[in-house]
Amino acid sequence: MNVILCALGLSYAGMASLSLAMDRHHGQVWGRDAAINVRRALQVAGAVLLALAIWPCVAGWSATVGFVAWVGFISAGALLVALLLPYAPKLLLRSSLLAAVAALAGLVTFLQ
């Protein structure tokens, strides 16, 4: 269960971060375009979160199965973001922050 929550949380938060780096979606949440350094920061954060999502997958399954699962979780995360953005952009922001924090904390369990 931990594996799924971690992988899904990181994928969702990563995709949310990437979406908020785009002017259209940045505007949906904050009503203005993103400043260039904010955009860069969001892009880097998104890429790092997505890359980290492979960790619980590989730890929970194996390199081969984990990779397949990772691609699936990334798709699921992206679909969630696209579905939430038009209906509840603020909720997207809050829930993705929460997901990022919780999932990063959950990663600790894979350290052993």
Partner: protein
């Protein structure tokens, strides 16, 4: 490139929708089959708390009993296969190649070796269960012709995927864009979003689906190697049975097989599942021991191959060994097995199945939104593609849209209804369930042709909603089992089927309501912004 995508996509979208929806349901063919055999499920539930049976310690005796049985009953068969400890249930089974072709099988009493006669129980619900969806999605219940139709359709799907990516000029800019309640724009957004975000899955599932039947779809290499006459048969026997020895005609008694089973377990580190004896009682005799995949094996490996070790019985020499997950026909063989299992989601356990289920639904939504988008676009501005027949062709496309999307979904849940409504014990009961599926689908097509488009959508979606939402009630009335009881006893397979059915029912009801609220001429701005849309992938399908 846009016309290629539009026209390739349109003509195959209805069939692909059916292939994808049934294929997605096929991910959970076991739970569906479990729900469709409630008598068996309830019996299983009654024994759920029994302690696990003790470990079998008399395997040597079981092997000897099965050999005696084969010696007496089928001495001429040139392959004997014994499963000394079946799972679950720890039974004893024997299989053999019949001289007339085909596979014979017998269940034996593990203590006496006597044949266990299976009388067909009166209350047994004869059904093919979830396999209906599996069979339909790759062969449309039409045998080899169906396999070819599905294969060609899938090839065109790959064309539509590639041309779709090229046509979609703003693939990164619009990556997360979904603008609901904006008519044609929303349909295009939804079509793009589900396709782009699950693109790796859509490519993988289409490609591995074709690779699965590569020796059917690309027969030339096999013909070149083995010739036209019986080529496929020779190829398959080579493929499945590397190094099968030829008979030499010298008699030889069968030695004790238990010692070989123990040796094989040392070699492959799996418990022995099947003992396959080639050329019994001949000096060329070979025995191959196959292992059981434990759950941990299938969790961590994509390849479903179990371990195997073969011995020449004349010399006692180990002639082949295959570690679990490896393939005995080299890297090409391993690739093929991985491709197949990648398609069937036979690895990684339940979470992977759910990922496949949702990605499959996204693919289904991709076909559905694409087909609907075609007509939404042309209702805004007719394209006049078919000259004077345009209006008639459009009407036909509308009918097919309703029947292929809503109608097929009705047929799928109708199949589950048929399982409960068709009396138990009638002749060819399993066949009647499948006939009910096709009959209902045909009925929906007729209905779609007779009713105006909007009414057609509303009525079929409403029917779908009713059938889905009432499915748990039907179960209570027909078997007395209910959702709460299923959850309490931990039967998540049955509960999962009914909960999913409820979810689909609510979605369909929402869809019917949305169509009902739609103005006849699609207005530029939709009346009111919808709130509280269910956060599921399929919502993108129904948004207006």
């Amino acid at each position: 490139m846009a016309w290629l995508h539009t026209w390739c996509g349109l003509w195959i979208s209805w069939l692909l929708f059916a292939i994808f929806l049934t294929g997605t349901l096929a991910v959970f063919d076991d739970p569906i089959g479990h729900w469709m055999t409630p008598e068996h499920a309830l019996e299983e539930a009654a024994h759920a708390n029994d302690p696990p049976p003790p470990k079998v310690t008399d395997r040597a005796n079981r092997l000897a009993l099965a050999l005696d049985f084969m010696e007496k009953e089928h001495p001429k068969a040139d392959m004997w296969e014994i499963w000394p400890v079946q799972r679950p249930g720890q039974g004893l089974s024997a299989y053999w190649f019949q001289p007339s072709g085909g596979y014979g099988s017998a269940e034996l009493n593990p203590l006496t070796g006597a044949l266990v006669e299976h009388v067909r129980e009166e209350n047994q619900r004869d059904t093919i269960g979830g396999h209906h969806f599996v069979d339909f999605h790759y062969e449309l219940h039409a045998g080899r012709i169906g396999v070819w139709i599905v294969g060609i359709t899938t090839m065109i799907m790959l064309v539509a995927l590639v041309s779709g990516v090229i046509t979609h000029k703003r693939i990164f800019k619009d990556f997360f864009t979904f603008r609901p309640a904006k008519g044609q724009r929303s349909w295009l957004d939804a079509h793009n979003a589900v396709a782009v975000m699950t693109l790796p899955f859509q490519f993988m599932i289409a490609y591995t689906g074709i690779a699965f039947f590569s020796d059917d779809y690309v027969p030339a290499p096999v013909v070149a190697q083995y010739g036209m006459e019986n080529g496929k048969k020779a190829f398959l026997s080579d493929w499945n049975d590397v190094g099968k020895p030829a008979r030499i005609g010298q008699a030889m008694a069968i030695p004790d097989l238990e010692s070989y089973a123990l040796r094989a377990e040392q070699a492959i580190h799996q418990e022995i599942r099947a003992v396959v004896l080639d050329n019994p009682n001949d000096a060329s005799m070979r025995v191959c021991m196959y292992g059981w995949n434990e759950e941990s094996d299938t969790l961590k490996r994509i390849s479903a191959n179990t371990g195997m070790a073969c011995y020449a019985l004349a010399t006692g020499e180990q002639i082949a060994v295959r570690q679990p997950g490896h393939a005995d026909s080299g890297p090409a063989g391993l690739t093929r097995i991985v491709m197949s299992n990648l398609h069937m989601a036979g690895f990684g356990g339940t979470p992977i199945r759910w990922l496949y289920f949702f990605c499959g639904l996204a693919g289904t939504a991709m076909m559905g939104t694409g087909a609907i988008l075609f007509m939404v676009k042309r209702r805004q501005r007719a394209g006049g593609e078919f000259g004077s027949a345009t209006e008639r062709v459009y009407r036909m496309i509308e009918c097919l849209n309703v029947a292929a999307i809503a109608g097929l979904a009705v047929a799928c849940v109708g199949y589950l209804w048929a399982n409960r409504l068709i009396p138990v014990g009638i002749e060819q009961r399993a066949g009647w369930e499948v006939r009910a599926f096709f009959g209902l689908w045909l009925l929906m097509l007729v209905h779609a042709c007779l009713r105006p488009e909007k009414r057609g959508w509303i009525e079929q979606l409403a029917l779908l909603a009713v059938l889905c939402v009432l499915l748990p009630i039907l179960n209570v009335l027909s078997t007395g089992d209910n959702l709460v009881a299923q959850i309490t006893r931990g039967d998540w397979e049955s509960a999962g089927v009914e909960l999913c059915s409820l979810a689909f029912g609510l979605l369909a009801a929402w869809g019917a309501w949305k169509v009902h609220k739609r103005k006849e001429k699609p207005a530029r701005k939709a009346a009111a912004k919808e709130r509280g849309a269910p956060a599921s992938l399929q919502t993108t399908m129904e948004g207006s």
